[in-house]
């Protein structure tokens, strides 16, 4: 693993909603330049933990440091420009064109994103720059999420956080977009944290996999180590699903 200083640090982060403790004292460092997958079943607390990074959720206890600074002390608008956010709901503004959607972050900061930069961002996510003038309801689901990624990248973020970013897409689009994001991660020198419930996706894209269960991180391993049987019972149960599927597919293939 990269020896660089941590870009992101969770310090005993606890989130309670009434009686429910969604995140229970998580402490963890995310190194600069790493691609981390946060995996867990529904209700394990992974989305909640992710949202403490851009302060969409405020921890009940503990704190999150981003580049050494407490995120709670940073102005939210400024923080969220440095943290690109992609999520399952996509949330393109239906009354804005594709270009206006992409340019919204810089616009909020009082900056006008030039059309060349919009075209460049569209090319980056493999969309025709002519899409800039279209409205979101003229796009397919995959195209919309590509615009969502372009919007997250528009402000030149250091950190990309993604909450089930490909959850609502068909498998082919999902695979292509996943690989595209990994490629952009390398190319732009990003640090990426991706929440997913799909262990296969995590194993294939990330270079570090955290498994959450009942609000705690129970496993912190590389994909290779997980496939070799490390990480404990919860992690191995999640790994066994794609592994058994792969084995069954292999058997089918050998019979054919």
């Amino acid at each position: 693993m990269d020896a660089a200083k941590p870009l992101l640090r969770f310090e005993r982060v606890t989130c309670r909603f009434g009686e429910v403790t969604a995140v229970d004292g998580v402490t963890c460092d995310i190194a600069q330049g790493s691609f981390v997958a946060l995996v867990g079943a529904s209700g394990s607390g992974k989305s909640t933990l992710l949202k403490t990074v851009n302060t969409l959720v405020h921890p009940s206890e503990g704190r999150v440091r981003f580049g050494g600074e407490d995120v709670a002390a940073l102005p939210p608008a400024k923080l969220r420009r440095r943290v690109g956010y992609v999520f399952q709901g996509i949330g393109l503004f239906p009354h804005f064109s594709v270009a206006e959607n992409i340019a919204i972050g810089p616009r909020l900061a009082g900056e006008k994103l030039p059309p060349e930069r919009v075209a460049e961002l569209l090319t980056l996510v493999e969309l025709d720059p002519a899409f800039a003038k279209r409205m979101p309801d003229e796009l397919s689901g995959g195209q919309r999420q590509r615009v969502g990624v372009a919007r997250a990248l528009a402000g030149g973020p250091e950190l990309l956080i993604m909450d089930e970013p490909f959850g609502a897409l068909d498998p082919v689009t999902r695979d292509a977009l996943g690989r595209k994001v990994r490629e952009l991660h390398e190319r732009l020198g990003l640090t990426t944290v991706m929440v997913t419930h799909d262990m296969a996706e995590a194993l294939l894209l990330a270079d570090r996999v955290l498994v959450m269960d009942a609000g705690s991180i129970v496993t912190d391993e590389t994909p290779r180590a997980l496939l070799a049987g490390a990480g404990g019972a919860v992690a191995q149960r999640l790994v066994s699903v794609p592994r058994e599927q792969a084995e069954k597919l292999a058997v089918l293939e050998s019979r054919a």
Binding site: G89, I90, L108
Partner: protein, 514 residues
């Protein structure tokens, strides 16, 4: 009904007043509802409270809501001083604004609640502040739905604004109410057409704005807003271009005799060089207070009405004593100057068809009491609440099988068609003679006298010109002449006159003009 086309062009000033009133009410409702909707979007408690209150307002009939602001504003004078208007534009504006709140508020709250949560999360995710989120995302996405609410509110408000006539605010309700009272159907239809046309025009213009907002067609949105603004400006200009010197305002309650006398008074004042204005169709309870606070300047009221409703007396000291007492009481308590009596009485009486009375053997209220349990009594909407009715009922022990309310003009029809066996009639009513009705005797003297009196507001009480112009009316109008004039307005055949024509005829008849 070609007359409608003759009447419509004359309704310009009523239309202008109607537009200004409706637009002000809707504008004020928008100013209140939108911030309230934003607040409601952040607090479920506020949302529930605001929507329940707005719904509660809707359950009050518009007519009652308008009337309720009169006593409310009257009591608020203790705080804001005597200058606070209690009739006319202000109470009408307040009532209509309350009425317009619900559809705007409900649509705005619903629109916010139904926004895509993904879009709202994205707004936070890209770093919008609460204000930016409201302006850039929530407001534009809710706008078409809010506009639909404003459309509904506009149609309701333009319709309900016709009722503002009853509290002395000029509107397209003026021809409707005047026409209903005098059975001038062309006048009623002209008022209805004008207000329905206005409502349709507003609805369609606002629809253009709504579509413009929904489809993001700026030219539609701004074009629609432009035309609406032009319409309102034109109405304001039309209103403002009238002379703004204070005119003499003459009140009329909602029956023919009052319309005729208001015209008669107005004609005399105009001949003396005064500018006059009519407030027709005022509720009976409103008129006295309106004169007392100089919201209107002249009214014709009746001794029995003032005696029971304002002096709260139930005794009957006789006609002359009653008048003298009232004149002194008004001078001391309200500042109203009772200039004198016109010369006729418009007392309450009970009337029956002649052959019905004969077959039942009824000639007096005492006879009636014995037969009442088989009979239906008809009265105007106020009648069964009035102390006069209670006094008569208790004096004779009247117990009718049924009692029904009719508008004054329809009571006689109800009597003819048998829907009522006996009605509360007015002694100056021309239809008593025309329909050959029997007026039942009142041996117990339970019904007080109702001499018509000329009442002047404190503002003009000492105006010598006014007094000089009106003094010739005192004692000049006998009951026969008044009945004839009333009948001329109420009849439905070719001899029908407008209140204005009837006033001219009456003036000639009693020798006031040649």
């Amino acid at each position: 009904m070609e007359e409608i086309w003759d009447i419509l062009p004359g309704l310009g000033d009523k239309l202008a007043a109607h537009v200004v009133l409706s637009a002000s009410a809707i504008g004020l409702a928008i100013l209140i509802a939108l911030p309230l909707a934003v607040w409601a979007g952040r607090s479920p408690l506020v949302s529930r409270l605001a929507l329940s209150l707005a719904s509660l307002v809707q359950t009050i009939p518009a007519l009652a809501l308008l009337a309720l602001f009169f006593p409310l504003l009257l009591s608020l004078r203790a705080v804001f001083g005597e200058g606070l208007p209690t009739l006319g534009f202000l109470p009408a504006l307040m009532a209509l604004t309350l009425y317009a709140l619900l559809p705007i508020l409900r649509n705005a709250v619903t629109a916010q609640a139904n926004l895509d949560p993904g879009v709202l999360e994205a707004a936070d995710g890209v770093g919008m502040t609460r204000w930016q989120k409201l302006v850039l995302v929530q407001a534009p996405l809710s706008a078409p739905f809010i506009m639909a609410g404003i459309r509904t509110a506009s149609v309701w408000t333009i319709g309900a604004a016709t009722l503002a006539t009853t509290i002395g605010q000029p509107s397209l309700g003026d021809p409707i109410f005047a026409g209903l009272q005098t059975q001038n159907w062309a006048l009623v239809l002209a008022g209805c057409f004008a207000s329905a046309g206005l409502a349709l025009a507003a609805d369609n213009l606002l629809w253009v704005i709504e579509v413009g907002l929904a489809r993001r067609r700026r030219w539609m949105t701004f074009g629609g807003i432009g035309v609406v603004a032009l319409g309102i400006l034109a109405a304001l200009w039309a209103q403002g271009s009238g002379s703004d010197e204070r005119r003499i305002v003459i009140a009329a309650k909602s029956f023919s005799e009052q319309y005729i006398l208001a015209q008669l008074i107005g004609q005399r004042l105009e001949a003396a060089g005064y500018a006059v204005e009519y407030r027709d169709g005022l509720g009976s309870a409103v008129v006295h207070s309106a004169v007392a606070n100089s919201s209107v300047d002249i009214s014709v009221d009746y001794t029995g009405t003032i005696w029971t409703n304002y002096l709260k007396r139930t005794d009957n000291p006789g006609r002359e004593a009653m008048y003298a007492t009232i004149r002194d009481w008004e001078a001391q308590n309200t500042g109203i100057r009772v200039l004198g009596r016109l010369g006729f009485e418009n007392a309450y009486a009970f009337a029956m068809r002649a052959e019905r009375a004969r077959s039942l053997g009824v000639t007096s209220l005492t006879d009636l009491a014995a037969k009442a349990p088989q009979l239906t009594v008809g009265g105007d909407p106020e009648f069964f609440e009035r102390p006069e009715w209670i006094a008569v009922r208790d004096a004779y022990g009247l117990r009718f099988a049924r009692s029904r309310n009719f508008a004054p003009t329809f009571m006689y029809n109800a009597l003819q068609s048998g829907e009522a066996d006996v009605i509360s009639a007015y002694t100056s009513d021309g239809r008593i003679a025309a329909d050959r009705l029997v007026v039942l005797e009142d041996p117990a003297g339970a019904l007080p006298s109702y001499d018509a009196m000329l009442m002047l507001s404190p503002r003009i009480a000492q105006d010598r010109g006014v007094v000089a112009a009106l003094e010739p009316l005192i004692g000049a109008i006998g009951v026969e002449a008044m009945r004839e004039a009333n009948f001329a307005v109420d009849r439905e055949d070719a001899g029908k006159l407008t209140p204005k024509q009837a006033a001219e005829t009456l003036a000639k008849k009693v020798g006031l003009t040649k």
